[in-house]
Symmetry: C2
Subunit: 379 residues, 2 copies
């Protein structure tokens, strides 16, 4: 992938994107989706429609007050317990899980327990990570630990994790055992990624390679599982599952690269986050580490500023202009364009991985369309 010191620099294009234009994630050259005119919105809606009732039924099994706290987290009720029509997120994972069942010729429904289990693990990690990171807002709302306290965030996270295994294992099939094992591997990676994320916070410098490894763990592993779990439940062999995992892993890295761009340059109205969100949190995201690794005047000036910020007592009172200055240096050093290119590169690896698996053209086109969607999204 990348060598430890230089390659982020060597691959950084000399021409940087113009500030103010939209996030430079030009759709890549894959045309399969356009040829077969896949309706991505319908694909996402299908995953959501199939998975949500099963997810809600699973969460309803939790004893009080864990059912209520979960319902708040998922956006089904507000803090006062009134029904809410919360932002359920993009639902890329459920769409992938039910689509992957179709690789084996099974109905999309076969992937539903996998979709639900993956969503439960994802949300377990959100509940715990928000508490560990002290994040007070998610999806435009106060996080669970802010509303219901730290103990409930821990407890309900644990319950969702256990429920994920339960939803799969109660199928009682050999395939369910295999799916649970893969989900467990992904969960371990997720936890490793969070451990890396925490340890990087206390360090001045993080290499591009370390950042990619962390993002592969935090985002790639679970998207890998989502992209294969339906196929595993449909009886796919290990080679097919591994290949679908490869697609999902690189799709996850593309997804995260775009997220990192949106975390600095995204439109707050679309993302639901503050302006310069990741800069306010001093996140060592890809654009930042790539800019720091790039060398040159802007890179060095950025390094000095961020080092000073880490010691500053006044950081919380920084103005918009001060964050804008940092974003500008990241961009001048090539961090923005490098990350956009990285998203395209990971997208290509993901889509090409699909070539190693036999599947109906229709299914392949849908995987490709979902990959295209991930890199052009604005939120």
């Amino acid at each position: 992938m990348l060598d430890q010191h230089g390659s982020a620099h060597s691959r950084t294009p000399s021409v940087t994107a113009t500030r103010g234009e939209s996030v430079p994630t030009v759709p890549p050259a894959s045309t399969a989706a356009r040829e077969t005119a896949v309706d991505v919105a319908a694909l996402l809606e299908r995953g959501r429609t199939l998975a949500t009732p099963v997810l809600r039924a699973a969460v309803n099994r939790l004893a009080a007050p864990m059912d209520t706290v979960s319902a708040y987290h998922f956006g089904w009720i507000d803090a006062e317990g009134n029904p809410a029509d919360g932002d359920g997120g993009k639902a890329v994972r459920p769409a992938l899980a039910v689509l992957s069942a179709e690789v084996t010729g099974a109905a999309p429904e076969v992937g539903v327990p996998g979709a639900v289990a993956v969503e439960l693990v994802h949300n377990f990690s959100l509940l715990h990570d928000d508490l560990m990171d002290g994040d007070e807002q998610r999806r435009h709302r106060d996080t669970v630990w802010k509303v219901h306290g730290p103990a409930q965030a821990i407890l309900v996270g644990d319950a969702l994790f256990a429920l994920a295994n339960e939803v799969l294992l109660e199928l009682g099939t050999v395939e369910a055992g295999r799916a649970t094992r893969r989900l467990t591997t992904a969960t371990r990676a997720l936890i490793d990624g969070q451990a890396q994320d925490i340890s990087y916070e206390h360090r001045d410098r993080v290499s591009v390679e370390e950042c990619l490894e962390m993002e592969g763990n935090k985002t790639g592993a679970l998207l890998a599982c989502a992209s294969s779990i339906g196929a595993v439940l449909g009886g796919a062999d290990d080679r097919t599952a591994d290949t679908l995992e490869k697609y999902g892993y690189h799709l996850g890295l593309a997804f995260q690269a775009v997220d990192d761009l949106l975390g600095i340059w995204g439109d707050p109205v679309s993302t639901g986050k503050q302006t310069w969100s990741d800069l306010r949190q001093r996140k060592k995201s890809l654009p930042v580490v790539a800019a720091l690794a790039a060398g040159g005047a802007a890179s060095e000036r950025l390094g000095e500023m961020l080092a000073a910020d880490a010691k500053s007592n006044d950081f919380e009172n920084f103005s918009e202009a001060e964050f804008a200055a940092r974003a500008d240096l990241i961009e001048k050093a090539g961090g923005r364009e490098w990350t956009a290119e990285e998203a395209r590169r990971q997208h290509t690896v993901a889509v090409e991985a699909l070539n190693a698996v036999d599947m109906p053209d229709r299914v392949r086109a849908r995987f490709t369309a979902l990959a295209d969607f991930v890199v052009v999204r604005k939120r």
Copy 2:
């Protein structure tokens, strides 16, 4: 079991134990252990010897710093990272897990992945519960969140939970899938029990029935799993596993009743806890709820005192004499003797459950001996 209001009272003996004598957990009438002269210490040592190396190898798989934090939690190193010979606990669960493999005629080693998985789940729950409950000491040492911070306690707990599933599922057998499913059910019960424990803290009154349900979840479910998981891995059918679970569940309730006695009247040198430990934490443990449910002068006086304590700003400065007065009222109201009797009663149900399963006499004698040990232990 018990009706919601009256039966704790109706079963409370009129004669209470004399203060100052040892915890009144007279060994029950089962004689199988003595007839075949089971060496309980050797049985516990066998479980520990078989499980510990596999447990340590599993924990060593964790990425830094989670491996180190875990090693501290298990007592293998001290807070500075130097090797330590920590108190590994009584090791009843591993002893039960390897013993249960022998029910099926398998070697005890067959139960080892089950023993390790159960220990991992148990320790995941300790890490999270200590943080949720704000407990600063466990096994004579500072708890993980005190030494390594709350984030590490959450993260490492998560990692141990995931590792538990991994250790089982990597066996790749149908039996391992069944064992993981049962472990998941037990873990969900564990989490339900912790949810109940937290909610009871905010209530003035908890019924004996609610307390037993909570203790069944927090202690019974995982001992049930420990008592059957080796048999499941050895190929036992569901009826056999269910019966062994029944033994373990009631053993767990006996275990917890003894724990509740030790939590008030135990010798601090043996238990490693403060004097009147559970009273200092205002725990609504069995002796307390049974005393409150008993009625009569001592019960009413206790209720008034505990209600006043809950509003007191000076509770943390209470003297030994003040806790002793509360313990005395619990005893006068019959809470101590009722709990001791409850331990014996649950022990009897546990041992009698074994009659429904065919197993070698030697194995049956060992299960019985472990049950006897649980109710006579002093720590």
